[in-house]
């Protein structure tokens, strides 16, 4: 149910933005270094049981930017990257929960609903620059904390995983 809605939302967004996105039922193989692996209940794969992305593939998806204050920086920072739901649409994710796994094996679960409800960004640029690992890169799931008061809570700060390398789509 959720996946279908998600699918429809993603398609509608693609059409509305008029971007020449690759068809959702096909995913290129990564050419550069793999920075994100999506596994679990997904409909589209390009590497065995998983879908792998290099940075160019993520950059090819529609990009979204916003600035927000976070607990990790003293100042507001600008984050840029594809919306998380676009990424999930690209792999036809069908579960209910996303398990984000960081480079140091940090794990956190966030409901797939968050990606649909809020404009969650899988940030790959901070202040328009690529994010090195020492600066919480290369990928950072970031909530638009400044746009919604309810997001400024422990629950959402803990879900904002950084140094993400894998997203496991769970039942």
């Amino acid at each position: 149910m959720i996946s279908r809605r998600h699918f429809m939302v993603a398609s509608a967004a693609s059409v509305a933005l008029g971007v020449a996105t690759p068809p959702v039922f096909a995913l290129d193989r990564p050419k550069g270094k793999v920075v994100l692996t999506v596994s679990g209940k997904i409909g589209i794969r390009n590497a065995g049981t998983a879908a792998e992305f290099d940075m160019d593939m993520l950059a090819a998806l529609p990009q979204h930017s916003f600035s927000t204050k976070t607990p990790w920086y003293p100042e507001a920072r600008k984050f840029t990257g594809p919306l998380l739901r676009e990424v999930l649409a690209a792999v036809d994710a069908q579960g209910k929960t996303l398990r984000a796994i960081a480079l140091n094996e940090y794990k956190v679960d966030l409901p797939l609903g968050d990606a649909l409800k809020f404009n969650l960004v899988l940030a790959r640029l901070m202040d328009d620059k690529p994010m090195p690992v020492r600066d919480k890169g290369p990928l950072f799931i970031i909530y638009p904390f400044d746009s919604d008061e309810t997001l400024r809570a422990e629950r959402y700060y803990s879900r904002a995983a950084w140094q993400v390398k894998t997203i496991d789509v769970l039942e």
């Binding site: 607990p71 990790w72 020492r134």
Partner: protein, 808 residues
């Protein structure tokens, strides 16, 4: 509540200020409490918010991560330095990057909000940054792909030492955060304690508030019930007072009525006395006595009117009235008074005034008599004026305006304000000089109010006064007057400026032909019938006779009558039934004017009379002026005929009837009286002084002689004394041989009526008492009563004979 009942009134006496202050204090305290609670809440929220932002990425967790990454990197550096795991350089770089990324997490700008900045933290961070700056050329993003284990090895001891410091820092930070959390918890606990304290205080305040409110409500409740009881008591007291007042007024009315009769007698006697031969001094004394008597009678009439108003017995009977004629009559009657004081009486009637209005003429005249009488009384020189035109009441109702002006003494502001007050005279010094009851104006005002009108006054001391009466009298079509008076054109009497005497002269000259009425007299007693017949015929009317109600109904059905005089108590069919029957006849018979003849003067019987459909009421014994007034009221001046409309003072309450009796008639009586004292009497009875007045109603007799002629009276009296109608003998038989109380009462009633008509006062009174007490007569008292009646009858006969009214 201390439940002390005696303390209650004290609390109730000064509650408002004390309770008010208490309320204000409570409101202030409650506001303070709410303010405090608000402040506490804000503080708690701030505390919570501060924690929320940075607690997220738990600070202790950050130190722990740094420690972990440091250990992992240390292990890997060790492995690479020992070249245990060749080719893991890429993994080492990533591990190094991860380690570096954790350093920024423990920087003071992140930890400041949750824990104090530690000296050790600063030192460790400096050392870490220093190490990173030296390791970057070896492991950082810009470093060459190949890592030299030898160069790594150099760093190993330093890194291990730093690892220990990082662990120590982690533990210290843990303690510091725990300390902070404890402090925060304590703060929260303190705030909670204060909050609980404030809440308890708030509860207490609300409790106190509720207590005060409950007490207030209870005291209000008590006050309300007290007020209710008071109101109830007052209501009862008022009802009682009103009842007492009504009873008193009724008593006064009856008393006045009772007083009037002997007064008339007194004045009548003086009148007779005046015609006898007297010395000049005696005549002077008599004149003074008569003036006093007349004055007293005026007052009595005022009191009677006033009492009637008070006891609610005064009724207004509005009929189509010729307004100009009414004014002319007033003018005619006031003219002599004005002339006596050499005042000019000017009457002016506006041309656009309606000819006929709906009004109780008698009461309108009474108001005008009062006001004009006052004006004349308080004016020594100059003029008294009456102006009648159209006007409006203060509420805007159209009507007739009467203005009474004078050039008299006038009055000041203070007097004017007290003018219409009950029982107060305008000015005591003046009233002593001019006399009067002070009721005249009050009566006038009450009468005007009963007619929905009003009276106002303007005045200036020494310049005179102007009274304005506005009565909302509805204008009628002139034909209404014709309909009401039963045919014939209303006699319209001249222009307003025609002198009063001329007016009355002309009225007398005009009347006999124009004013003849067809009158049906219904009475079971022949004396009464005869009396009424003679009286009416002398007034120039045609008379039909009926002996009971049934006969009256037959006559009314067969021939047109203008007026039916109806005795109330009659055999076969009584007057009430007869009136009802007549009212149910087809038109025009049912419209005939019916006037009751009754000896009852009480409102209750009047009410019964009215309910039966009769229009008016004539009290027995019937007096000439009563008949005149009745006819004038219903048919206008024309109906009074040659007995003298304007010349008769009968309508003027201020003048005793006997005093104004036409001289010619009186002299006849006097002649008769004077010429017979020496005639042989059947029996010489010594008549004591005062006895004639007790036995005979001389004023009534004088009136009757005046109305009928002395001869007619003598005939009637002779008929009665020979007991033609068996009035007395019938009653005596019933008394002496036993009879039903009902029968006795009826017979007594008949005797009473006849005796009263003939002015046999004592006999009439005894018969009246017998009528009232017929039921209580015993076997012993009945013959006594018969004997008593017989004696009185003989006394009356003897006296009449001695006076020469009967042939012995």
């Amino acid at each position: 509540m201390n439940g002390d009942a005696a303390a209650e009134p004290v609390a109730a006496r000064a509650p408002t200020s004390r309770v008010g202050r208490l309320m204000v204090l409570m409101v202030v305290l409650l506001s303070a409490v709410f303010g405090g609670i608000g402040w506490l809440q804000t503080q708690s929220l701030a505390l919570l918010n501060a924690n929320v932002v940075y607690q997220g990425d738990n600070i202790v967790w950050s130190f722990f991560q740094l420690e972990t990454e440091s250990l992992r990197l240390g292990q890997m550096l060790h492995d690479v330095a020992e070249e245990k795991q060749a080719g893991h350089h890429e993994a080492l770089r990533e591990r190094y990057e991860l380690f570096v990324s954790r350093i920024s997490l423990v920087e003071p700008h992140r930890t400041r909000e949750v824990m104090p900045e530690l000296e050790m933290q600063r030192q460790v961070l400096t050392r870490l940054r220093d190490l990173v700056s030296r390791l970057d050329p070896l492991l950082g993003p810009e470093a060459p792909a190949q890592i030299d284990p030898a160069r790594i090895r150099v760093f190993l001891p330093e890194f291990e030492a730093l690892g220990k410091s990082v662990r120590d820092l982690s533990l210290l930070a843990n303690q510091a955060v725990a300390e902070t959390i404890t402090r925060r918890n304590e703060a929260v606990r303190d705030q909670n304690r204060i909050g609980i304290g404030l809440t308890i205080f708030q509860c207490l305040m609300i409790g106190a508030f509720a207590f005060v409110v409950v007490r207030q409500v209870r005291s209000l409740e008590q006050r309300r019930s007290e007020l209710e009881t008071l109101a109830l008591n007052l209501q009862e007291a008022r009802a009682e007072a009103e009842q007492a007042s009504r009873t008193k007024s009724a008593f006064l009315a009856n008393m006045s009525h009772e007083l009037r009769t002997p007064f008339n007698g007194l004045l009548g006697m003086m009148s007779l006395l005046d015609r006898s031969s007297l010395t000049a001094q005696q005549r002077e004394y008599l004149g003074i006595a008569r003036q006093s008597g007349e004055h007293l009678l005026t007052i009595l009439n005022d009191v009677l009117d006033f009492s009637k108003m008070e006891s609610g017995r005064l009724e207004m009977v509005a009929r189509p009235t010729d307004l100009r004629q009414t004014v002319s009559e007033v003018q005619a009657l006031m003219a002599p008074q004005a002339r006596d004081k050499a005042l000019k009486l000017e009457v002016e009637v506006a041309a656009d005034l309606p000819e006929v209005v709906q009004a109780d003429a008698k009461r309108v005249k009474q108001i005008l008599f009062n006001l004009l009488g006052n004006a004349i009384k308080f004016t020594d020189t100059g003029r008294v004026g009456l102006t009648v035109d159209r006007g409006h009441t203060s509420t805007g109702r159209p009507g007739v305006r009467f203005r009474i002006t004078d050039t008299g003494i006038g009055m000041g502001e203070e007097t004017r304000t007290r003018l219409f007050q009950r029982f107060s005279q305008g000015d005591n010094s003046i009233s002593r000089r001019f006399g009067g009851t002070g009721l005249g104006l009050e009566i006038s005002r009450t009468l005007a109010e009963l007619m929905d009108g009003e009276i106002s006054v303007t005045s200036q001391v020494g310049r005179g006064s102007e009274f304005t009466v506005v009565l909302p009298l509805a204008a009628l079509d002139p034909s209404a007057l014709v309909a009401a008076s039963g045919g014939g054109a209303p006699v319209r009497i001249g222009a307003a400026d025609s002198p009063a005497l001329q007016l009355s002269d002309r009225a007398v000259a005009d009347t006999p032909a124009a004013g003849s009425l067809q009158v049906l007299v219904t009475d079971d007693h022949p004396v009464n019938r005869k009396f009424m017949q003679v009286l009416l015929e002398r007034l120039g009317h045609r008379v039909l006779l009926a002996t009971n109600g049934e006969e009256a109904v037959v006559i009314v059905r067969e021939q047109p009558c203008d007026l039916v005089l109806m005795d109330v108590h009659m055999p076969v069919m009584d007057g009430l039934t007869a009136a009802r029957t007549i009212r149910s006849l087809p038109l025009p018979a049912s419209r005939v004017l019916i006037v009751a003849l009754t000896a009852d003067a009480f409102a209750e019987s009047r009410e019964r009379v009215r309910q039966s459909g009769m229009d008016d009421f004539l009290a027995k014994p019937v007096q000439l002026h009563d008949v005149e007034e009745l006819l004038r009221k219903h048919f206008g001046a024309r109906a009074v005929g040659s007995m003298g409309s304007g010349a008769s003072p009968a309508a003027v309450p201020a003048t005793a009837p006997a005093a104004a009796m036409p001289a010619s008639h009186v002299s006849k009586v006097v002649v008769a009286t004077a010429s017979t004292p020496d005639k042989p009497a059947r029996r010489r009875v010594r008549i004591k002084p005062g006895e004639p007045a007790r036995v005979l109603d001389l004023a009534h007799i004088a009136d009757t002689c005046a109305a009928l002629s002395a001869d007619a009276y003598r005939t009637l009296l002779a008929g009665f004394m020979s007991d033609e109608s068996a009035s007395l003998s019938g009653l005596l038989v019933l008394l002496e041989q036993g009879g039903e109380a009902d029968e006795r009462a009826k017979a007594a009633h008949r005797l009473k009526g006849a005796a009263a008509s003939l002015g046999l006062r004592e006999l009439a009174e005894t018969a009246g008492a017998l009528e009232a007490d017929a039921a209580s007569l015993t076997e012993e008292s009945a013959p006594q009563m018969a004997q008593h009646l017989r004696t009185q009858f003989e006394t009356a006969r003897e006296m009449a004979t001695r006076l020469g009214w009967l042939v012995a």
